[in-house]
Symmetry: C2
Subunit: 398 residues, 2 copies
Amino acid sequence: MKDFTYYAPTEVIFGPDTESRVGELVKKWGGTRVLLVYGGGSCIRSGLYDRVASSLGEAGIPFTALGGVVPNPRLSLVRDGIRTAHDEGIDFVLAVGGGSVIDSAKAIAAGVEYDGDVWDFFLRKTAPMKALPVGAVLTIPAAGSEMSDGCVITREDECGDEKKSFSTNICRPRFAVMNPELTYTLPAYQTSCGVVDIMMHTLERYFTRGGDMYLTDALADALLRTVMTCGEKVLKAPEDYSLRASIMWGSSLAHNDLTGLRGQGDWAVHGLEHEASGLFDVAHGAGLAAIWGAWANYVVEEAPERFARLAVNLFDIPAVMSTREETLATARAGIEAMRDYFRSIGMPVNLTELIGRRPTEEEIDHMAAMATKNGTATLGSLRKLGLEDVKHIYNAAV
Amino acid sequence: MKDFTYYAPTEVIFGPDTESRVGELVKKWGGTRVLLVYGGGSCIRSGLYDRVASSLGEAGIPFTALGGVVPNPRLSLVRDGIRTAHDEGIDFVLAVGGGSVIDSAKAIAAGVEYDGDVWDFFLRKTAPMKALPVGAVLTIPAAGSEMSDGCVITREDECGDEKKSFSTNICRPRFAVMNPELTYTLPAYQTSCGVVDIMMHTLERYFTRGGDMYLTDALADALLRTVMTCGEKVLKAPEDYSLRASIMWGSSLAHNDLTGLRGQGDWAVHGLEHEASGLFDVAHGAGLAAIWGAWANYVVEEAPERFARLAVNLFDIPAVMSTREETLATARAGIEAMRDYFRSIGMPVNLTELIGRRPTEEEIDHMAAMATKNGTATLGSLRKLGLEDVKHIYNAAV
């Protein structure tokens, strides 16, 4: 850890019934005409949509609704949103949902202020220079998009969907409304997927060559342990406010850079998973759980002491590491313990469990080719991964 | 923990030589004419002043310098700054120093945009509605003012100085430049005062009736343990970058609200210390160390389980707490261990050690009267303290 910048300006409004303050918040942050982006029927059925709509109404703010965002959100909907925003003179994009909805809102917000095609940002042809302000009412703690600078969108294509991202501070939400009670009804599987996603946002940053930052490491340990414990307990107590609150706040802190100020992070597992969820349309968190162990075993020799540190701090595995062999053994015990944890919260630990059948060789070759098509320099930091490395990891994850 | 808001928009630029980016940062945040507020000669002697001046010069930004800020910063200098800012058409206030300098800069920034007397904000006659943007180059990690919403100023008065504060989001610095290398030359006493101040900002928030927030508690534990360990080690290794970096970043995170999202916090120790440093003009961190133990022993029965939790998590004291008596014993062992820690880093643990002589009965009566003159409702949360309570604590701290 030497240089870093930290910038997490999102105003967080946390607690029961906070969604009733959305109108006032949009107004405070300059919105006068809102595009309300949301996903499927649960937002309507739960009454959340109505509560948000009436809060906007009370604040005298007209809105146009754009529903239908799906997991692994689609570029086509983003383009629809940009058109609608232009047609309706929208000046604020409000996301009501989880990461997919917030990511769609960010892409729309940046696309509205750009003359070309929004996909240019994802292709890195150009970077957004302006964006409409975005606000979020979070319903699924997982992606951390509510405080992050990033967005991930999938472009549908006959030859295989393509999942890409861009990052910019100007897309960080102005405000994020977080009511843990909204997550009481999340299915167990989705709750666990969120827990894994939160863990992975911290772990990807944990594995880096950035050097020592004792405080960042300690905060990462604390967040991981707390979210893991709460994640296990909440499956038996889905309406425990304190458990839900800690997971929800963990989702934001795991991805607003707080737990990763050592360097750039690794992000290979995210890269590998994006190809899996692009191809099989599975939940991101489950995909991460299915791949992490194979990746960890493949790269553990690059940083055995950090994997061992994780084993000791997360799983109370004895700190035996006076030789490299001992350190590696401790590290590998930690990787096994992590897999056991994933199993304990109902997550898959390989691709077969993830998709319900063994992936074919062609599917693995396709994912490996996609994951490395921009060259090895873009995948991984602890160890730069090339095509053969990636094939090995996917095969080990079968 | 139920409701909270979290808003920490300051852009942090962290690392060696980051002060050379000040000009570019002021420009980015809209400054065209700067008031450069600083303290004493060390800023000049170290060459920092020159580096900041030349960075502003390279960015084409003229500035007016206002030096002479002292610890427990004075209202008179704030008023000077406001006059100068008006005269010179200043539109950005840049603080180069520690908490006293940043607090002075905040008060100036708010005072410039107010027609009345700036002390009105401290008397709560009115709240700032506008303020010039503020930036900070941090040289002393302690007060956390670089990311906080607060400022504390002392009004000189023949009948006894008066130390008061106000808080507003509009005074949070737009950016904070943090170069840990700038702290290599801090004297050991000042380093330890900073460590105590950082600890206290977390501890004041730790003792509250706000209920369970597992993640906040875990982050508070992690920050306390890390800063305490680094604080002990850095006395023997004052030029260890990683130790200095963790303390510096800890200063910001301890006071940007991250570690205190359970409720309002207690803040009695700060209130009691303000009277001591107002009267004796001692270092704030040392004053906090001198008073904390007496306060803790006086209020421990209000929340024995939280004091015991601290004992277990910070000092590895065995978690014996099956009865109230056991819990209290564990809690009290933790309070003693905290005092031992203060001693180990060269901090006073009572008022006599703090000021070098036994305080007189009149001095204690004066401090007690001042600390409670706004009524008991304003001092403490775990236990509301009245005049007799406060006298008892000061006497126990003699």
